[in-house]
């Protein structure tokens, strides 16, 4: 996590993975709410996919919040993850191959935990019958921010046991 002024040994594979995690998590964070909404509309509510896109552009910027605001709110923890991954894995090569491999596994598990919690949260909120269920969207980022260190910690524990 320390970015020193000296240059860090080049490692094309880690560099590629770091950038994939950085930009990939941002893309997943932004797109996942939409995928979940379309999924629930089409498979759970048996709606034609076209109905979701009807007036979508106008609804994106609707009063109070708007769909875009909600999706960006859900993406915020993924942005935190992205910046963490960029520093943590991007600077890993200078700590040696072992540390790099352990960090890689821990970050992948953190991402998996966040995606799992996000999918579960969106599904639970979108399929809830209560009229106030959408308040859950305000709390979902907090759950994701909790899931991230938990997933990372689990990854480090597994890595310490299996990656030597």
């Amino acid at each position: 996590m320390t970015a020193s002024t000296e240059s860090i040994p080049a490692d094309p594979r880690t560099r590629g993975l770091t950038l994939a995690l950085y930009w990939g998590s941002l893309v997943v964070g932004v797109l996942l709410p939409w995928v979940m909404q379309i999924g629930v509309e089409v498979w759970y509510r048996q709606q034609a996919p076209a109905t979701f896109f009807d007036g979508l552009y106008l609804r994106l910027f609707g009063p109070d919040s708007g769909l875009l605001f909600l999706s960006l709110l859900s993406a915020a923890p993924f942005a935190v993850y992205a910046v963490f991954a960029l520093f943590h894995l991007g600077t890993a090569p200078r700590h040696g191959a072992l540390v790099m491999r352990r960090r890689r596994l821990a970050l992948l598990l953190a991402a998996a935990a966040m995606i799992a919690v996000s999918v579960w949260g969106h599904y639970a909120i979108l399929t809830a019958r209560g009229s106030t269920a959408s308040i859950g969207f305000l709390f979902l980022p907090i759950y994701l921010l909790i899931a991230m260190p938990l997933g990372y910690g689990l990854g480090r524990l597994i890595a310490r046991r299996w990656i030597r």
Partner: protein
């Protein structure tokens, strides 16, 4: 990765966030009004609704949309006429008054669908439909149950002192049609401040044995709500907090205060800043609420008198009416 590479990717992300925020702000600005007006003519109901809601959010800045929205409010084929009515009341008071007068006339029309639409429209106008209260009270005796149902719901949502409408709503609690009774019970449950509905308690307790399970359950809740009503001072404290929040919270709270009438007078001076609010609908609703408080709100009379010079004629009229109710002269 080098430090420079990391900084570059972070800067790219910041640029994306900045560009996105700018685009979002532009989409929420009044520059979108012509685009939104075009979508009021869309074939898709969802698009029309979305455009209407966004125009409503823009308030007076969307005044250019008023003529088109006014047409929508009286179009029998438009399924978003009630939404258009609410939006109109936030955008252009003169146009909203035209919609209210047209609905008030339609409420006495022999055309049944027109009467049903009119009752629903008036309910969406809030305090703006105050002049239509006598017509709505008469409509609670309409031969058609749906007109009665909508008239009852509308009366509860307008926000006039409870004494003016409670007798009509208590009568509706004994309506032979269950959904009219349900509308009346719902009004006491969700719309009335509990302290303004104590008169209805005996009828609600009787309705707690209604043969219709939905009416029965809601009547039990309503009776319990009135029985456990907080002292008026607590209701007013909550209202004081709500009055400094967003526009829709302010309008909701003002309607509740208007229902309390003179009981809400301790908050009269809290309403004075709202009389200078930039949005017409807030100034209008605030002055109507002060009028509903009557002579007990006299300490706000000077601020109300200033509105006799307001640029909006509907507000000038409302200020004159409020001064009359407060027992003050207009000079």
């Amino acid at each position: 990765m080098t430090k420079r590479e990391i900084a570059l990717h972070l800067a790219l992300l910041m640029l994306l966030v900045l560009a996105g925020s700018g685009f979002y702000a532009y989409q929420k600005s009044s520059a979108m009004v012509p685009f939104l007006i075009r979508h009021l003519d869309s074939n898709s109901l969802r698009e029309r609704q979305a455009a209407t809601f966004r125009l409503q959010e823009l308030g007076n800045a969307a005044r250019a949309a008023a003529p088109r929205l006014l047409k929508l409010t009286s179009d029998p084929l438009s399924r978003n006429a009630p939404d258009a009515t609410v939006a109109l009341s936030r955008i252009d008071l003169t146009a909203a008054r035209a919609a209210m007068e047209s609905a008030q006339t339609a409420l006495r029309s022999p055309d049944l669908p027109a009467r049903r639409r009119a009752a629903e429209t008036l309910g969406g106008l809030g305090l703006f439909a105050r002049p239509a209260v006598p017509a709505l009270v008469a409509a609670t005796h309409d031969a058609d149950a749906l007109v009665r149902d909508r008239a009852v719901s509308a009366l509860a949502r307008i926000g006039v002192p409870a004494a003016q409408i409670v007798p009509a709503l208590i009568a509706a609690l004994d309506d032979p049609v269950y959904h009219v009774r349900h509308a009346a019970v719902a009004a006491f449950n969700f719309d009335f401040p509990p302290s303004a509905a104590t008169e209805a308690l005996p009828t609600l307790q009787r309705l707690a044995q209604d043969p219709n399970p939905a009416v029965k359950q809601l009547a039990q809740f309503a009776a319990q709500r009135i029985n456990e009503a907080h002292p008026i001072a607590i209701e007013l404290s909550v209202a004081r907090y709500m009055l400094v929040r967003d526009r829709e919270s302010q309008l909701y709270t003002l309607r509740k205060l208007a229902m309390l009438g003179p009981q809400a007078a301790p908050l009269a001076t809290d309403l004075v800043p709202l009389l200078q609010h930039p949005e017409d609908i807030v100034r209008y609703t605030a002055v109507e609420t002060l009028g509903a408080m009557g002579p007990s709100a006299r300490e706000a009379a000077t601020a109300v008198r200033a509105l006799l010079e307001d640029r909006e004629p509907v507000i000038r009229d409302a200020a004159g009416h409020a001064l009359l109710l407060m027992g003050e002269n207009q000079r």
